[in-house]
Symmetry: C3
Subunit: 209 residues, 3 copies
């Protein structure tokens, strides 16, 4: 029987893959291309983290992610017309994935011997880098750089983990606090339309660049 964390991992991977597959389908990718974009969205962040930590990428140890993306692909093919009615569900699933991936990223970095400031960056990368690669592949400016509190929720959750560690609570409590912080930060930001300010640069710059 799968553990609770495995269930969360499935939900998160599934939601990340769905987001990649749907955006690929909006760009008229073929089935292969859509699958690859879905897979990269799901595993891209963790893979980048593992390469930087110099540990074997998680998806190469376990066919789970490849299979889970195949389920997501099947789901989009079968239910394409109804997906739009599931947007709120996908939002919740995606945010569960973001929270879980952040916690996993922080923990793997600490386990590899890095200090917390690195672990927080790695946690955020685990959560958000897959979406950046997805957007590069579909030739769009990465969404997370322009809209919504997304990666920023990972940073806040990573800091929450750090505070828990400083206070000295048990590891599983740190996980719950950190993951819940990511989840709530994103949900509240979307609900109350909280966004980061746009950086106002020199308007002439674009012409001279």
């Amino acid at each position: 029987m799968p553990s609770f964390v495995q269930v969360l991992d499935f939900i998160g991977t599934f939601a990340f893959a769905i987001s990649g597959i749907r955006l690929a389908s909006a760009k008229r990718f073929d089935w292969f291309g859509a699958y690859v974009v879905g897979l990269v969205t799901a595993i891209g962040g963790g893979t980048l983290r593992d390469v930087l930590l110099d540990v074997p990428p998680a998806w190469m140890q376990d066919p789970f992610y490849v299979i889970c993306t195949a389920f997501a692909m099947l789901f989009v093919i079968l239910f394409s017309k109804h997906l739009i009615h599931l947007n709120n569900t996908f939002f919740i699933f995606d945010t569960i994935g973001l929270a879980l991936f952040t916690v996993v990223g922080v923990e793997r970095s600490i386990a590899a011997g890095y200090p917390f400031w690195v672990a927080i960056i790695m946690g955020s990368m685990t959560g958000a880098a897959g979406g950046v690669i997805r957007d590069v592949f579909i030739n769009e400016i990465p969404l997370i750089f322009r809209k919504e509190i997304y990666a920023m929720a990972c940073v806040v959750g990573g800091i929450a983990y750090w505070i828990c560690a400083l206070v000295g609570v048990e590891s599983y409590i740190s996980q719950i606090v950190s993951g819940s912080t990511v989840f709530l930060t994103r949900v509240l930001a979307v609900k109350y339309h909280i966004t980061l300010p746009i950086l106002k640069g020199d308007p002439e710059h674009e012409n001279e660049a």
Copy 2:
């Protein structure tokens, strides 16, 4: 005297580099930019594979790839007006490269101790990821996600290798069968206009994304 595999490797690397250099020239890159895009097209897939397998990238062990790309550059500069008449030749060369790179990718992954499902992905990545990076650099949606059987031919060839290994044939027979499968799959797909279906997603998604 170069071995048969070295001759194939030269042909494949040359054709991959040519494809990068030609697309870069269509975008009016300068000589340096065109060379870099050519090199990345040729070595990108293998480099990504070696980073994921945590082995030293092949192009850093042997100046062969850097020199071969220089020949491709010279070739495009000298014969730019006549390249279009060589399109069929380039197609064959490119497909030889695709076949060889797939076989090399599968074998290096097996040698690194990974199971076949990882090796097939790595073989496909070796063959196709260079073209993806090329298309990102020239700011286009990667061609292989939208058109033609390309990376899919690598997947089929990787599965052929797996079947050979399951049957228990000699290693060189697996190589020939796998490489020929990649080659024939692509050639037949192009000849008979066989493509993968486009993924039909929810049309409203693009607006809401």
Copy 3:
């Protein structure tokens, strides 16, 4: 007290981060996105180099780069209206960074046991790859492939280092000669409008691609 090299490193990192942040602001990124693009511009080249050399990325060993990018961010926020008058200063700072990063890239590759032809590529990558990733993130064709002597200056500086090593001078003289060569090559190229030729390819290629 910081050493001379540390001062140069700060200047270079600061200038690279500024260039990323300014281009991100021209695309209306939010603060988080601008910071990430600034950081990636500053550390991207060195990180790619370290991943290929299989050594721990420099920015994960020392919070210097993360903090330096934060200063660059603050600088852009506070002085956005006046930045355009500092363009010549930024150009000099950026070129100092390019020179230093090239030298560091060459040396780390030699220290990792690679021959000079690899070290020259790695030096150029350290100097120029951050800007390539920056341009991919803002969804533009990388500037260095189309305009100006930029990465080419790194190649020239890397060759200068090689010649120094062949002649057998002391290490610190190689560093000064190599760095100065990068600096002067770029400054002179910009001053006298020296550019590499555009690669003239087959004009029909774009249509048939």
